[in-house]
Symmetry: C2
Subunit: 434 residues, 2 copies
């Protein structure tokens, strides 16, 4: 069974490697696939000059923000974490050069340079290729800035096929029947679907092929053409090798695609969480119950006593933390977690979620003490928000009644799952009741 087939069937929009988004160290993923040998240089040109007409939005799609980060940064990250990719040139409209430079700095992208584009797609790509400098023997991958979910597996296939055949490109089956129209707007004929494919990105070329294709092509090609594979065929006689890509290659085109992209990003960030019990037995019992209940909702929970020693690795790999506190001493524990996360500056690429679950006996807190908690957690959360850490609280009461207790646990699970999944800014600092 082919990799593409599998991903098509199981969960077509999910990036192939689950660790892809949560990983905050570019190039080092927890779920790194087997190391690949690429014994030739590979660089990337990302045309990002689009104006986003089809989304109908003011902001071009590549600069639309998802959880506080522009789409182009996600795409750049997809390449940056691939160890065998040397450098990335992002080609943007002149008026967006400052914006792009700012994005590169803010999200600490390495390997990346922004260069100004030309008056058409081909001219922009050509500018990008020229900016790479002489790269004899290298493969140049060209990709769209608005296809952020490309994975290393597929990039590897394109790069090696390009090296072997001179050019390679991603294709997808056609979703609709393609028809030819008469000049009067009537059906002329329909194409036999099986013979045709949609040409997608990424595409790869040996440096020589892409360089010569652009050197030899006409002004009209530069102005009106869109298909690099076509230029390689026409001007270098290179028949590109076509490789079927996974549906994740899809291009953010319409406004509805923004919601789809956001949903994929949120999915990737809500696959797992870790529960910190502080070593308390009651907290551990609750954590175990949550593990089952939250697991059933699709998020895997690891239960640990603290973030020390061996468990410090969760600081690097996890983006969701649930601190269970029992009794009075409560907020101090979550404050400690926040401090560790802030100190490590780990929320650069994605907002981290911290949920404080407070388990109390109904008589443990004075009524006035209980009334002070909402204000305390709100204050704490305001400070954390500035560090891109989203803090929420959930309260539940210990109950001897089994049914009542189980209902509370499943409410906590439901609330925690929703908070982790939605990463809502509006709800930051709220103390919810389970």
């Amino acid at each position: 069974m082919e990799v593409n087939d599998t991903s098509d069937r199981c969960d077509p929009d999910r990036p192939a490697h689950p660790g892809v988004f949560p990983t905050r160290e570019a190039g080092k993923s927890d779920h790194q696939p087997a190391e690949r040998s690429v014994d030739f240089p590979v660089s990337v040109v990302l045309p990002a000059g689009g104006t986003g007409e089809r989304t109908g939005l003011q902001t071009p799609k590549q600069f639309c923000s998802f959880l506080g980060r522009p789409l182009i940064s996600y795409t750049v990250q997809a390449f940056e974490r691939v160890s065998w990719i040397q450098s990335i040139v992002v080609v943007v409209a002149k008026e967006n050069m400052d914006l792009m430079t700012d994005i590169v700095q803010r999200f600490q992208h390495r390997k990346v340079r922004a260069v100004p584009g030309g008056s058409s797609r081909h001219r922009s790509i050509w500018n990008g290729v020229l900016a790479l400098g002489e790269m004899e023997g290298a493969v140049i991958i060209i990709h769209d800035a608005v296809r952020p979910f490309v994975d290393e597996d597929f990039l590897y296939k394109i790069a090696t096929a390009a090296k072997e055949h001179g050019a390679a490109g991603a294709i997808r089956p056609l979703v609709s029947t393609v028809i030819a129209t008469t000049s009067e707007g009537y059906l002329d004929h329909s194409l036999e679907r099986a013979k045709y494919r949609a040409s997608e990105m990424p595409q790869g070329f040996t440096y020589d092929v892409i360089y010569q294709a652009y050197q030899r092509c006409s002004e009209s090609d530069f102005e009106f053409g869109t298909e690099c594979l076509h230029l390689a065929l026409q001007y270098c006689g290179t028949n590109a090798k076509l490789i079927q890509g996974p549906p994740t290659l899809w291009k953010v085109t319409f406004k509805r695609d923004l919601a789809a992209a956001e949903s994929i990003i949120k999915d990737a960030l809500s696959r797992s969480a870790c529960v910190i019990t502080g070593g308390s037995v009651r907290a551990a019992t609750l954590a175990d119950a949550l593990q089952k209940a939250v697991g059933a909702l699709g998020t895997e929970l690891d239960v640990i006593p603290d973030l020390k020693g061996e468990n410090a690795r969760y600081l690097l790999k996890e983006v969701n933390f649930i601190q269970v506190s029992v009794g009075r001493s409560c907020l101090s524990e979550v404050e400690a977690v926040l401090k560790e996360l802030e100190a490590a500056n780990l929320a650069l690429l994605h907002p981290l979620v911290v949920i404080w679950v407070h388990l109390s006996d109904s008589d443990e807190l004075s009524v006035s003490g209980r009334a002070a908690q909402p204000a305390a957690i709100m204050d704490l959360s305001s400070a954390a928000k500035l560090q891109n850490i989203l803090l929420y609280g959930i309260q539940l009461h210990q109950s001897e009644d089994t049914e009542c207790w189980e209902r509370s646990v499943s409410r906590v699970a439901e609330l925690a799952s929703a908070l982790i999944r939605e990463r809502s800014l509006a709800l930051v600092g709220q103390l919810l009741q389970a």
Copy 2:
């Protein structure tokens, strides 16, 4: 400027008529476009036999739920509210007949009948056409069950063009370049994009054309064909009139499209809300401030004293209610609103949102009284949830300090907008702090 152009540019995924989803009376929309004269019978065949392979989900897409209602019901609703459409036949796989019948009953769809499909798309459509019975002079519209956002304007264009030309079909520009591949998987040539279009749905046919096309076509057409326009051309010599449709015609195909569809539905449901002040001056002042703040977030607020007399119309047209209460007497007001909504049984097609905003002086409630509120609103919300009414609470304190007050108001606005937009089941019954 053409209608299609406009919608492409402004907000391409939004159904053309803003009232389309919030309207709970099928066929009677608040934003009804000018009455159209269609002086011939029009019926609809909706093939809904797909297995949803491409989403990678267990449930076929047409039966996936959005805010508690299956996608097919949204599509049916899109046709049902068009006054000049007589009847709708939904063709489903035999094993889904009971499910479909249940959906029709549960969501009180009229005009609709479910019939079992055949072993291929064409056989299923043919079954649907036969189920309509002899319809001399009528137009039959064929549409996909998984294209729920089709609007009356476009249906009208297709129906009238089909009547005039015998057949008509929706087209869209190609998003990707289409290429022909060699049998070895190399690029053969790329098509000139401008000459080709993607064939989409809906399509319309006079009864005679579609009937004859299916009567005359071969077993192989029945088994392997997908394009009705092609059969009309081949077997009746009818060149279909092609009409460019809006991007809203898009087909829910991949898993990511489910998120896109949900987002469009949520957008449609969060365009407006009404604020009920109970006639109190302080409540009205808060409501006015909210009107500005929530408006800036994209939801239009109407401020009314109550739901009586002239204002009872809001019960019929609105799906979001904000009850502002001042001081102690608070929950009784929101209870009254819930009763009116429940009595009218208005939450059949969409969950209604009710937000209780409680404005208190810090000293107005005893500390113990304040501690009892969360339980009271949770109880109230559990009962309302059974009626598909989602109740949430937001508390804020009156403040003399202008800056503090403005911050509170903007927090209420932010929370209310998020609650209305997300319609979260997990958060039902929570009392949030502004």
